[in-house]
């Protein structure tokens, strides 16, 4: 009798309880996600485990894990990760799995050649200007204004502005603002004339002392929280932390114009991708359940309210827009100006090429012209290799 009950119990568990590994890359919001995943596990009798990973190692780890056959079941990643769908053996996502409240534009960020490889959960992921109201009465609108205020900040013993200077996600916004685009369709377009302007302008910000070229992520995060820097350029992922630490002192504004050109940061959606074709595997049902769960209005709202992440639920976004305060309005306004990242594989190659050329330029090894050429050449070679691998 006892043995029979035990077997029944095990069989029953084996039929419903699915262990799902959930790879999460953001430093922020993991607690919210963890809580939501636990809730899902409870509700659906699955075991979803969140594995934290850094954004830098996400791509290589993902590909290696696929090669090794140890890939996570589902990965929460920026939408441009879709570009490695081939290497990551991402499952094609049926349209049915996409919430009807997710608009088409957002879906495009997760599509290649009209094939959806990811399920958008969040959107935004864009940069914006944060400022400390205790140090700044009126946020700047141009870089020239910041230069004029620099002396005051120096006297106050605080840095004018900080961001992760060597991180290309920040530099890409400058390139966009000057009119460049990292990719156009399936083409890498790093050697366009705006690259020269962007590089020189970007460097001048450092040489003029507005920002330190040695600045890491902490300059625009930790130092800002600690009041050591008046302005910070950071992403929407940091809003929750800033609000938590600065409270009413936190101000959000548009990143200053470059001349008359409005700053255009990159944006993307944050999607669920299913490596090693997990969506077609034995855990497919559970994964689908999880996808539905994370797109649900309730979860989307929790993500906005708790993690301060921008949901993809269009109704919820509309609601947010209506009820938004000054900071939220600025955040959304910046999103409006943002340039969505391409999901093409070329985008991935462009990132690497951009970083290589920028490093050489930033260290003074080559000039801006040569840097543009090098970026383009490197990215094209990698993209070519990518295509070769696909074939």
């Amino acid at each position: 009798m006892r043995v029979g009950l035990l077997l029944l119990c095990l069989l029953g568990q084996g039929a419903s309880a699915v262990e799902i590994s959930f790879l999460y890359y953001r430093e922020q919001g993991s607690a919210t996600f963890r809580a939501l995943l636990e809730e899902f596990s409870r509700d659906h009798n699955h075991l979803v485990t969140l594995y934290q990973i850094t954004s830098e190692s996400l791509k290589p780890s993902l590909i290696k894990s696929v090669l090794q056959g140890t890939a996570a079941d589902v990965v929460f990643a920026p939408s441009d990760f879709v570009g490695i769908a081939e290497q990551g053996k991402f499952s094609e996502v049926p349209q049915a799995l996409i919430s009807q409240k997710t608009n088409a534009e957002i879906q495009l960020t997760a599509s290649i050649d009209n094939t959806l490889y990811g399920i958008p959960i969040l959107q935004g992921n864009h940069l914006m200007l944060f400022y400390n109201r205790r140090l700044v009465k009126e946020p700047i609108t141009t870089w020239q204004s910041l230069l004029e205020q620099k002396d005051q900040f120096d006297e106050a013993g605080v840095a004018a502005i900080g961001w992760n200077y060597s991180e290309m996600y920040w530099f890409a916004g400058f390139y966009n603002t000057f009119g460049g685009r990292m990719t156009r369709g399936k083409l890498v377009t790093l050697n366009d004339p705006p690259m020269n302007d962007a590089l020189n302008f970007y460097k001048s910000l450092a040489t003029r002392g507005l920002v330190s070229s040695e600045c890491t992520y902490d300059c625009g995060y930790k130092d800002f929280i600690e009041g050591k820097v008046a302005y910070a350029i950071n992403g929407e992922w940091a809003v929750a932390d800033f609000e938590k630490h600065l409270g009413d002192d936190l101000g959000i504004a548009l990143i200053p114009n470059i001349g008359k050109k409005a700053f255009r940061p990159l944006s993307s959606s944050l999607v669920l991708v299913f490596p090693d074709n997990s969506l077609d595997g034995p855990k497919a049902e559970a994964l689908k359940q999880l996808s539905v769960f994370l797109q649900s209005e309730k979860v989307q709202r929790v993500l906005y309210e708790k993690a301060r992440f921008l949901p993809v639920d269009s109704q919820l976004i509309s609601e947010i827009k209506v009820n938004s305060d000054e900071n939220e309005s600025a955040m959304l306004a910046q999103l409006e100006l943002a340039v969505p990242m391409s999901a093409e594989a070329a985008q991935g190659s462009a990132w690497i090429g951009l970083r290589k050329g920028f490093e050489l330029f930033n260290k003074g090894v080559i000039d801006a012209n040569k840097a543009g050429e090098y970026m383009q050449q490197y990215a094209e070679r990698d993209y070519g290799q990518h295509l070769k691998n696909e074939n």
Binding site: I63, L67, I84, I352, K356, L360, V365, D382
Partner: protein
Amino acid sequence: MRIKANQLRTILALSILLGALLPSTLIGSFMLKQIAEQDQQAITQTLYLKANNIAQNIQHRVRQLLLDLQSLAQVNDVVLTPTSAIFGFHSNQLITEVLQQNDWASAIYIVDLDGRIIEGAPLQAEILDLKAHLPAVRRLNQLVKQGSNNAVVEVYQDAEFAQLVENGEAIDSDSGLLLMQPLVQKNLNAIENSQQVGALLVFVPMQSLWKEAESRISQHGSLELFHSQRLLFKGTKGEEPIRRFYIDVDLDLSNMSEPLSLSLSAESRSFWGLLVERQSNVVIILLVIFVLVAIIALMLTRRIVDPLEHLSRLVANYSEGRYDSKAPSLAYEEFNQVGSLLNSMAERVTRDQEQLEQRVTERTYELEQANHTLQDTLGKLNDTQLELVEKEKMAALGGLVAGMAHELNTPLGVGITAASQLVSNFQTIGQSLENGTLARSDLEALIRQGAEGGELLESSLQRSAALVNTFKALAGSDIDASLQRLNLKTWLEQQLQMFLQPFSERQIQLSISGANPNMLLNQRAVELVFSCLIDNSIQHGFSSQTFPHIKVDISASHETVEIVYQDNGTGVQAEDINLIFNPFYTTGRSSGNVGLGLNQVYNLVHQHLLGSVESFTAEPQGLGFKINLPREYGK
């Protein structure tokens, strides 16, 4: 104080100095030589160890680098980088880390199969062109295809990588080591189907090897690295020395087709080089030795010379008669003994002097007495001598007179007899006439006897007259004192030929040889001398000689002329050779010779020619005369 070379002080000091310095210098030189040799051996040994050390260090570092590359080649991100630059960020961190750990590598690359750079470190290395190294990559790919996944080390030529090294201009070389590790992607799910996707390339320029080795090379040393007998680089620390020696060591990197050859050289120091190197020490030691020896020499000299000077002053005092001086106490026992002896000697001298003075006084008296005796004796001797001379003269005169009397006695006796006969005959004639008994026959007999007696008387008187003339000639009184200048040989040749003319039937051979000096002399005296000598030879020597021969040899000096005259006649007995100049000595008295010819020669030579003559027995036979004459009469 003046220093003189012959002073004992100087000699002594120099002797001590040299005696001490020479061995010191020789020993010092020997030791320095030994040190130099040991030094050279040590340098050689050190050089060998250094060369091995450098070689092993290079080998070790290459191996370490190869191990690092192998480790990198096991890292998935690195292996996957050539296939996707997504892995590049992490891979770049890894190769940068390896580069930092292997600071002598100037660049590390991850390249794809076509040799295109995917990742590179340091940053500036990424923009370098690797086209020149594509053949090396292809060779590596080929090896991998043949089944070898081992790393390969080659030698490259590319100046670009030297510029990535700090102080890369230290040596002039565009070569370096290229380490290539294939990147092989394995199917991570299975063992099978591995595939090369790219390679890790590491460039180690020779500048790095030199930088690594430089600290291990001594000043003026140099390091050369060869591959296939091609010089890859030559590094010299400091100025290149003139004298140096080499140590060659093979640098066997197992991943190379041919080994590298490492040649390390160091300055070969000469003995003088060592001396110069240790100049200050040598100079200080020599100076110290010299000063010490000089001080010792001076002290010893002073210790020896001072007593000597005391003794010298003492002896000087004694020499001046101050025998009351006493020797002081001196440094050495030997000198004190000498001083003591001198003191004793002075006492003895003083005592002896007193005794001597006494004896001198006595002797002086005795000598005075003896002197008087001697004066007397001398006077007597002089008297006796004069008496003897007189007696001799008288005896000589007596002999001469006796000789003359003897010679004159016969003709005069004959003359007297003849005259007595004549007188007797004329008395007989007169008596007979008075008595008338004079017969014709008697008268004729008496007249005939008278005529014969007259003739005999005449001949006796003539002979006596001839003898008197001879005696006159013997004195030379008929020779005038005039002098003539002539060339002796020329003159003698004519004169002797003329003398011999009357005896031409005798076939006498005449030889005149030697010098022909110009002389100032009494020609008449010389004529008479040679006339007498030839007469002597003919009369006495050649009586039984079939091939008579007269030889005259003349030799002249600056002041004198020697004439040697000799014949090959019968000569004289040895005991008579000293008698031939005596007057009236003759071997032919029976032939009517008087024996005054050679005496005349003697007188003429000594008195009229102011020379000398002596006789000798000629060899093998005959009689000879040596006549020495002054070249200029009276000088």
